[in-house]
Amino acid sequence: MGSLVAAYTVAWVILMIYVLTLAARQKKLRQALAQLQAQVEAAPAAPSQAAHAK
């Protein structure tokens, strides 16, 4: 009985660790993507702003 519990626990633990790893990675990617998209949107405005300042 102990071996059966151990085997099923191991299976669920591996799956949970993998799913949590995927979730953490997803959060990082989403943040990085949002940050980069904001930078890209701001980038074309920079030369005109510089010209306006002159």
């Binding site: 071996s3 059966l4 151990a6 191991v10 299976a11 993998y18 799913v19 980038a43």
Partner: protein, 242 residues
Amino acid sequence: MSSTSPSPPAVPAQESSRPQLAILATLALLLIALYWALIGAPTEATMGTIQRIFYYHVPAAFAAWMAFGVNAIASCVYLARRSLKADAWAVAGAEVGLAFLAINLITGPIWARPVWGVWWEWDPRLTLTLAMWVMYASYLILRQLTPEGSLQPRLAAALAIFFAADIPIDYMSIRWWATQHPAPVLFGGPDSGLAPRMLVALLISLAAFTCLMAILVWMRYRQQLARIEITRLRQRLALAEE
């Protein structure tokens, strides 16, 4: 529909609920599979309760083979078309397959110890399965260590196709050689087969693990696409700064 009709939005409103429904359905299937594995299936006469590890051990291997199959097909498509989406599918298949094969490789010795008296035997099936895990782990490590560029996915795709040869050999090993590992219970010789309720438990568990594998591969694929988009945006920013 004319060619001038407006194109649909990139992400339809309904699409966001579909993955959640698939995840919920898979979780329900996993619970049903757990019930059948622990309660629904009869206790095996020779080994007793420990035989119930079978309902996780075999589906984990099957899901891993399917995921590595995705990796192999996507690698072929990448080499033929140089499609970054195909490369993303390849990465997803390898990583998810590795997780499922880890379950198979750990549950096997837990089952073997009380039944065989040893944790491990270097018989063809066990050795080929361990070799498969090492091969796909090295595939992912190689992708991490080599710099991103056109050579990395090409090299990885070539390796993946080479590694995929282990999948049919691993599957056939218990048919070709008489090993310590038990003979196949499905599609084996005339002596193979399962009691009807054991077969139901196995089929439900196979379906649950395969659905879970498909969802995880799809999630990992989407992450890889996000990485490609991040690389593209970084290049665009670098060009804008020059």
